[in-house]
């Protein structure tokens, strides 16, 4: 049979402009190039099996994206061969056997930089009261309090704005795109704009880093 392998990689530099679809295609081609014994899907257009933990929005950086691929059980492979096929902007950080299912992911740690004229204390205060925004999904549109999606939030001042170090719900059950923070604050009368979003890592229940 086969064994699931997990790849941890970053997305930085010009790779922030690659869409999720671009990324999937690039990873599949990298797998083919690497020559490692990956497991392929059957059917009409056989392709290397690979699934991603969570898509990352266009423009965001990441220090810990994850995808799984399969290798035929019992066959050895050289992880370096796969690492060599990735460009610097999508550098592979680690390859290890996948033990946790992606559905265990409930949150992610983000570093968010906001450009704003208000100082950190005022922003901090905004998070004490309700911060509502109209959240759209494929099926519905509803008014939500973004604070119910934010597990942890530390705000500090930086030049020209603030930096947020936070854990935000991410996963199949409950998820919030960090762009809603910008929208909610603006709606609450705090003019601001996202300048940089970096996903640091995924978390599972209890705030433990998901690997």
């Amino acid at each position: 049979m086969f064994k699931d392998m997990r790849v941890q990689f970053c997305k930085k530099g010009d790779a922030i402009y690659f869409s999720h679809l671009d990324l999937q295609r690039s990873v599949q081609r990298a797998l083919r190039r690497s020559g490692i014994p990956y497991w392929s899907t059957g059917g009409f257009s056989p392709h290397p099996y690979c699934i991603f933990a969570q898509p990352l929005s266009l423009g965001f950086e990441s220090q810990g994206e994850l995808f799984d691929f399969r290798i035929t059980e019992g066959e050895d492979f050289d992880p370096e061969a796969l690492k060599r096929t990735f460009p610097e902007s999508l550098k592979i950080l680690d390859i290890y056997p996948a033990e946790n299912a992606f559905k265990k992911i409930t949150a992610a740690t983000y570093e968010i930089e906001l450009k704003t004229g208000r100082d950190a204390k005022i922003i901090q205060k905004a998070f004490e009261g309700p911060l509502t925004v109209l959240k759209k999904t494929k099926r519905s549109e509803k008014e939500v309090d973004i604070r119910t999606f934010i597990h942890r939030m530390e705000i500090s001042g930086i030049a020209g704005g603030v930096k947020m170090d936070c854990d935000i719900a991410t996963g199949n059950e409950k998820s919030l795109n960090p762009t809603y923070i910008e929208a909610a604050l603006n709606q609450a009368g705090i003019p601001c704009s996202l300048t940089k979003v970096t996903r640091i890592c995924f978390l599972e229940d209890g705030g433990k880093v998901f690997r």
């Binding site: 402009y17 869409s19 671009d22 599949q28 081609r29 020559g35 096929t85 460009p87």
Partner: protein, 615 residues
């Protein structure tokens, strides 16, 4: 100026598909600038998605970058949303590799694939900060070079280009880079350098020639301004095609290109001699690569890139002498790896059952034929040697294999065409429906769909029809309506290529230097990406012709006499003008010419290789 695209976040994230504006693809060439003395900007006058599909770009990019000290980088026309953001911020057109603006490049090469790209060429120059007219540029930098099929009649673009590279470029362009390197060392002036280049085979420097005109508008003389400048420019070809440079690596775009796959080039030239076809004449003599070389190249490229698609490129793949053995060997490699093999440009007449089965075994697709004309008489005139029996045989095989969708390409407005010939297009579709219902029910599909695709004939330079008049717009519309009125079944659908584009293409294809101001005017008024229907604006062209007082019909609707000096007569493609005239005369008689495999008809192209063609 060098840009940091990471700082473009505020607008790059707003435009469509930003990945196409940052480069950094796997397989692209990055060089150490301290070791580079010639920077070559390779410009593709269309968007990234199209340009990155182009085989010529990959070959020339590779060949130039093989040369030490030369760095070839790529430029594409941005989609208008991106161009708007760039103009707002005074960002010049920049390269994919180092994000350097176009004006910093020594050589600026445009590949001219299609006449309608001319305004895009001008737009890219302007966006890159390069003065449009060659006379406005100075020093040994920003030397603008044109190549590709449209460079065989480059006259409408003459004032904008310093040099045209005529013929195949994989040897010529590195030589040009080397010449510039030497000229810089010798401290030559721009004029001295251009004069040197004009003496090299395959290079045409338009500013060194004088054109005069008769009162009726035809050319009275075309002469070099200096004695040491040749009167005719002979195209360059690769003599030993099997051994020529072919890239071992291929750039892999992050965002999807139109043709995102490995391509191998089987041969150049074509044995067929269809009288309307420019490529068939331009790329003679026929030179093949050996099946061994091709299989080796294909495997190397597939391994290096991880692509899931392999395509064979040539003007007529089934005419490749070793086609069966080649396909067998390739399938042995591609099938176990789940790689899709596609074989475009197969001809109807020698389409064998096995070959059909092999390809459909990978993926079933629409069955496409290009009979080009409906009646046998018309096909004889254009020397498209496909008979009714060939079409019948191929269709029957296709239907037995389960194909149920047939696409047929035709041209309208061909020389000597009558309404009977147009009506025959519909008769052919009816007959094909008949073959379908004849096919054993257990083998064939349940339904049949025939798509007729009609293009407008465009007389092109260096073809036996180069002297012909194009049909007027009214006449084309009348013929289109006539054909539509004859179609009585829903199984047949009809689609037309926009004839306004064809009318303009005909003007530009056989135009001369007096069209340059029109192009300038179109570009000035925002013309670009004219091959995209959403950006094409016929009125902009009509206005430009009016503003410049140029009569487009003079170039397209006028039948030219055999003794007229044609704007491209100073270019020598190896195929003689006498041969083209003989072919034209045979066309009027409805006489066909056998293909080069059957017998050599003496076009003259093989004098360029000094041996028989590889047929």
């Amino acid at each position: 100026m060098t840009y940091n695209t990471e700082e473009f976040k505020d607008f790059l994230l707003k435009v469509q598909k930003p990945a196409r504006y940052v480069g950094g693809e796997i397989g692209c060439t990055i060089k150490d600038l301290s070791k580079v003395d010639i920077r070559f900007g390779f410009c593709f006058p269309d968007i990234y998605d199209i340009g990155m599909s182009h085989l010529g770009l990959r070959i020339l990019y590779g060949a130039l970058n093989e040369q030490e000290g030369t760095w070839c980088e790529r430029f594409f026309q941005p989609w208008p949303d991106m161009e708007e953001e760039m103009r707002k911020r005074d960002i010049r057109l920049y390269s994919m590799e180092s994000h350097t603006s176009l004006d910093e490049f020594d050589l600026i090469g445009f590949t001219l694939q299609y006449e309608m790209c001319y305004p895009t060429v001008l737009n890219m120059l302007e966006l890159g900060g390069i003065p449009l007219r060659s006379e406005e540029r100075e020093g040994l930098k920003n030397i603008v070079v044109g190549g590709g099929p449209c460079a065989y009649n480059p006259e409408p673009l003459a004032p904008f280009f310093d040099i045209f590279s005529i013929g195949e470029g994989e040897e010529a362009l590195p030589e040009l880079a080397q010449k510039l390197r030497e000229a810089k060392a010798k401290g030559l002036s721009r004029q001295e350098f251009l004069r040197e280049i004009a003496k090299m085979e395959g290079f045409y420097v338009p500013s060194l020639y004088e054109v005069t005109y008769h009162e009726d508008g035809t050319i009275s003389s075309f002469t070099p301004k200096f004695e040491d400048v040749p009167t005719t420019i002979k195209k360059r070809i690769i003599k030993d095609f099997d051994k020529t440079y072919y890239p071992k690596e291929q750039m892999i775009p992050f965002t999807e290109a139109v043709h995102d796959r490995v391509t191998i080039e089987l041969f150049r030239g074509c044995i067929r001699g269809c009288r309307f076809c420019q490529a068939g004449m331009l790329f003679r003599p026929i030179r093949c690569k050996s099946a061994d070389t091709l299989v080796k190249d294909a495997c190397t490229l597939l391994e290096n890139t991880g692509y899931e698609q392999l395509s064979l490129c040539s003007l007529s793949s089934s005419d490749y002498p070793e086609i069966e053995s080649l396909v067998d060997q390739l399938i042995r490699y591609t099938e176990p790896r789940g790689i899709n093999l596609s074989l475009p440009s197969l001809r109807v007449d020698n389409f064998s059952k096995e070959l059909a089965a092999k390809i459909t075994g990978v993926r079933k697709s629409t069955f496409t034929f290009a009979p080009e004309a409906g009646s046998q008489r018309m096909r004889d005139v254009i020397n498209k040697n496909v008979s009714e029996e060939d079409i019948e045989k191929s269709c029957r095989i296709a239907f037995e294999n389960g194909n149920s969708s047939v696409k047929l390409y035709f041209m309208m407005g061909l020389p000597t065409e009558t309404d009977e010939d147009i009506a025959a297009i519909n008769s052919m579709a009816d007959k094909i429906i008949g073959y379908f219902y004849d096919t054993d029910k257990s083998k064939r599909n349940r339904y049949i769909k025939i798509a007729l695709s009609l293009a407008t004939f465009i007389p092109k330079p260096f073809t036996p029809f180069q002297w012909e008049a194009q049909n007027s717009e009214q006449e084309i519309h009348r013929k289109q309506d006539y054909l539509r009125s004859r179609i009585k079944t829903k199984q047949v659908t009809l689609s037309y290529h926009d004839c306004k584009t064809s009318l303009l293409e005909a003007i530009l294809a056989r135009g001369d230097r007096r069209l340059a101001p029109v192009l300038e005017e179109v570009a000035k008024n925002g013309g670009k990406l004219d091959a995209w229907t959403e950006h094409f604006d016929y009125q902009r062209w009509a206005d430009a012709f009016a503003a410049c007082k140029v009569d487009g019909d003079f170039y397209s609707l006028r039948k030219r006499s055999f003794d007229e000096i044609l704007p491209w007569d100073h270019i020598d493609i190896g195929v003689s003008k006498a041969y083209l005239q003989k072919e034209a005369e045979k066309a009027y008689q409805g006489q066909t010419t056998p293909n080069c495999k059957e017998s050599c008809s003496g076009c003259g192209a093989n004098t360029m290789i000094g041996r028989k063609c590889d047929v």
